[in-house]
Symmetry: C2
Subunit: 184 residues, 2 copies
């Protein structure tokens, strides 16, 4: 649910920035150790914060950490969660299809599926049509686990992101990031 937001400057489609484009380098910095000694003041990050990829990477790491915390009760990684989601929405597909859709290489998907199957969350069955391929399906346990995970993701993880960004910026960021992933 939309939690309270403080700075909700960004509009949905046209993202207008509040403060007029500040060209000044604000000399952003980080403290490297405790601020007692004279040599441990702060390091100048330079144009590092103007590098989208730099902050994006750090944000991504934080987000994945938060995901792991929130979904810890059902012990699913982001990758595993995405697999279960896809299996739920697309039952009966084979490994190649699921893996490709998620951008996972087939060799690397084998161990991943092994883990999920060993936990009883999904099954591999040889396809009667094509006995090379495995038909993948969620088990009942997989479905209930996915349901729990989805609730945790929505109520804890995504809620946290919305709380930090504000609902509108959260939505705007979703669209921008999807655009980048698609059009870059």
């Amino acid at each position: 649910m939309p939690v309270s937001n403080k700075t909700d400057i960004v509009a949905e489609s046209v993202v207008g920035k509040g403060p007029r484009r500040l060209r000044k380098k604000a000399a952003a910095s980080v403290v490297v150790s405790d601020p007692s000694g004279p040599s441990s003041v702060a390091l100048d990050l330079g144009e590092l914060n103007e590098l989208l990829g730099y902050s994006l990477k750090r944000a991504q790491l934080r987000i994945f950490e938060d995901f792991l915390r929130c979904v810890a009760p059902v012990k699913l990684t982001p990758a595993q969660f995405s697999v279960l989601l896809l299996l739920d929405r697309n039952p009966g597909r084979n490994q190649t299809e699921i893996a490709m859709t998620l951008g996972i290489l087939r060799p690397n998907f084998v161990a991943m599926l092994d883990a999920l199957e060993n936990r009883g969350l999904c099954t591999r069955q040889r396809s009667p049509n094509d006995r090379r391929s495995h038909v993948l399906m969620l088990t009942d346990k997989g479905r209930t686990t996915l349901a729990k995970a989805k609730k945790l993701v929505a109520d804890k993880h995504e809620a946290r992101l919305i709380d930090v960004l504000g609902p509108r910026q959260h939505r705007a960021m979703l669209e921008m990031v999807a655009k980048l992933a698609k059009e870059l």
Copy 2:
């Protein structure tokens, strides 16, 4: 941690570019192979595109790929570039300070510095004050390489991002992503 690189090209073709600004779930999907056979229509991504972390991760991978392409002439990874930037802005610091600032663990920073030093881009000197630590400094070659890299980043890489997102959203995204990295 900031930067990592890796030259990966994810094989995946996005198909439904569909209307953005859609409130309803547009059943976004991906084609998994050629659209001839009946079983290879398109996979339903479900609420995967509502997961900020999912799209963010993919965007981050694309951005790093683009960075590598653009900065290829000077052969610097995002991580190396961030180190050179920091050394330029903060000469005379030691390895611990630089590494910590970038979120790199000290053990892993050793090999990284080795590479830069072997290429003649920076130097390690034992500090006269504290003979445990190494004073890090850019060489002239390091400075000119950094200058070239900065130009490539600004003129090619960041320009590409601005081209895709538009200047306003690019800046908005920079701020949102920084906020996430900081406050999450």
